[in-house]
Amino acid sequence: MKSFIIAWKDFKIRFTDRKGFFMMIFFPVILTAILGSALSGVMGETSLPKTTIGIVQTGNDPLAAVLIKDVLKGKDLKDIVSVKQVDSEKQLKTFLRDEKIDAGIVIPSNWSQDLQNGQLKQVKLLVDPGKELKGSIVNTILQSFVNRVVTVSTSTKTVITHSAQILSPNDLKGLTGQLINSLQKAANEPYKSVQNSTIGKRMVSGMQYYAAAMAAMFLLFNVLNGTKSFINERDTETLARLMSTPTRKLSILVGKFLGNLYFAIAQLGIFITVTSLLFKVNWGENLMQTILIGFCYAISVSGLAMLFAAFIKNEKTADTAGGLGIQIFSLLGGSMVPIMIFPKALQTVSNIAPNKWALSSFTEIMAGTTWSDLSLPITVLLTISILSITIGTWRLQVK
């Protein structure tokens, strides 16, 4: 019972400390935003490049309107394509040269007038040779549209021509209407015969990675803060005063451990909530997995605080050793740059860093993983916890 009183006291002291709150909660959120945005490329996130297309349209051809309104400005392409209406081919070329647009399309007047014969007038596509990818994207979009239009037109014409030989004019009229309706409906409906599914893990975005990395790194600060809390209690005689009350040493030690654990859990909980809401970070489909790994990691950092408190005598040493240790472990554990870019040997060495296990587990959960895949990191984190708590408690009780 007294352990909980001590733990709550420690939690309140740390939670109401503005400097500590800024350092432990606000700062990691800011760093996540900066690193997640700036270093997203490192994570291999790919998407089609945004492309601006200039269009010269002469007259009011209905097919041209469909191409611009329904295709280029349509919902599927609106995120990557922006359309700029241009007055003349000459101006289009100027825009292209000045890099105001990435590609240009010149639609001839009465573009679709020969469509009943299965033909379209030629569209001119102007591309910047320095923007080959963007040019090829526009070419593909345009080619695909033209092919579809010509195919539908040709098939309709063939059906109607043959039907005219055997059907009465009235029946032919009905068939024509029916055919047009069916083709329109088929063209507008999504493909239902193909089921979309993914194989393998989801890709973790830069923002996701650095959210997990900052969580792992800043929870590590609880080792330093927990150690300092012990030392501070010793230096200010409050530990002596605690020991002059009818409270067992073990209760005091458990209280100090729990206080640190409460804060680490609260810190992680707030961080996950804030990053989810502000940056839409998806911490994974299985919340229980995230909670369990977070809990195991929080226990291990609180245990390590006890271990260090048992061996470090003053705050200055704790600051020096702790600051350096956190930097090394953060680097080694992948909180600064992803472990995957490390050489193999360094990747093996990184296994000594508890934050590495937490970080890799968080990213695994984000990508979608199984409970059995998490058994190793859970075992490692709990082993660190048990060893550090046992050695720390023993040593502190003897001291």
């Binding site: 007294k2 009183i5 001590i6 006291k9 309140k12 002291i13 109401t16 400390d17 200010t236 005689e237 409050t238 002596a240 005063r241 605690l242 020991m243 002059s244 009350t245 009818p246 409270t247």
Partner: protein, 311 residues
């Protein structure tokens, strides 16, 4: 109530407490007087069960510190020398915390905290953080924390170090009042006047040994020389000191402050003054000031140890 019997404590090869023995009766105010490093705090730490000792025994209400430390801890309230409070917590939160650590329920702790704030005169500052308090106010809350569980014995280890006279007076009056209400007090200090004001019996401790125990009157009566004459001289003269030592009324001479101040223990001040001055003149030594000091604990300590309480 409290028995300290032949207690010895060593740190490595250094023995810091050498067979300390004294007892304190229920309701008594007992002072432990000695200079810094005399062994007062170590003795207090052993009574509180914070430090193990090598030999002897300490009992409170018949419970031994060695065998029943928890029973003893329930009965005593300790006011440490340093401010043992949480500076970023309010006075009230500190008191509640310490009350709960002594086993009070939240409700009882809350009621008692208000009483304690009244005792130490800081009720209006209950919600303020300790870090905003003056040194004196911190000391008062430091005492208050030890009163939360209504201890039978209040042990105070130099509770007035480094505070202003007003706060010191408030603390001394508070302790005096608590003692009047029946609380047993053990008060350590190197301020003779505090111990004289508060305590009925006094133990004088130096170099880890209790060198005298008794009431103030008992102790002063033990002075072999009844009076101390402080004589400030122009320069030190060895033959002067030797000649003064041969005078029949001189018991002892202690030289201080670059040997320009002599503290001369005499058994008759009336006869001594004239003789001392004439002896100095005879030895060509100028006397700057001469002062007769009534016998007190400081005098006793000086005579017993050859040094001042504040050395």
């Amino acid at each position: 109530m409290l028995e300290v019997s032949k207690v010895r404590k060593s740190f490595g090869k250094t023995e810091v407490v050498k067979g300390v023995t004294f007892s304190v009766e229920r309701g008594e105010a007992f002072g432990l007087l000695g200079p810094n490093g005399a062994g007062k705090s170590t003795t207090i730490s052993m009574i509180c069960g914070l430090l193990p000792f090598n030999e002897g025994d300490i009992t409170v209400d018949g419970y031994s510190v060695k065998n029943n430390p928890m029973e003893i801890k329930k009965r005593i309230g300790v006011v440490p020398q340093d401010i043992a409070l949480y500076p970023t917590m309010s006075a009230m939160d500190n008191l509640l915390f310490w009350g709960k650590m002594y086993g009070l329920s939240r409700k009882n702790a809350l009621n008692r905290a208000y009483e304690v704030l009244d005792i130490v005169g800081l009720r209006d500052r209950a919600k303020d953080k300790i870090e905003t308090f003056s040194g004196g106010m911190k000391r008062r809350i430091n005492i208050g924390a030890a009163l939360m569980h209504r201890p039978q014995i209040l042990i105070m280890d130099e509770p007035t170090v480094g505070i202003d006279p007003q706060s010191r007076n408030h603390i001394l009056e508070t302790v005096k009042q608590l003692n009047k209400e029946g609380m047993t007090i053990i008060y350590t200090s190197h301020y003779m006047e505090e111990v004289e004001f508060l305590c009925e019996r006094i133990g004088i401790i130096d170099h880890g040994e209790v060198i005298a125990v008794g009431t103030k009157e008992d102790l002063i009566n033990r002075l072999s020389g009844g009076t101390v004459i402080k004589m400030e001289i122009g320069h030190y003269n060895k033959s002067l000191v030797e000649e003064l030592n041969t005078l029949p009324f001189v018991e002892k001479i202690v030289t201080k402050d670059d040997e320009r101040e002599l503290e001369i223990f005499v058994n008759s001040s009336h006869q001594a003054l004239g003789e001392l001055v004439s002896t100095a003149v005879k030895n060509n030594v100028e006397v700057s000031t001469i002062q007769v000091q009534e016998p007190n604990l400081e005098t006793l300590f000086l005579q017993l140890t050859g040094r001042s309480l504040r050395d």
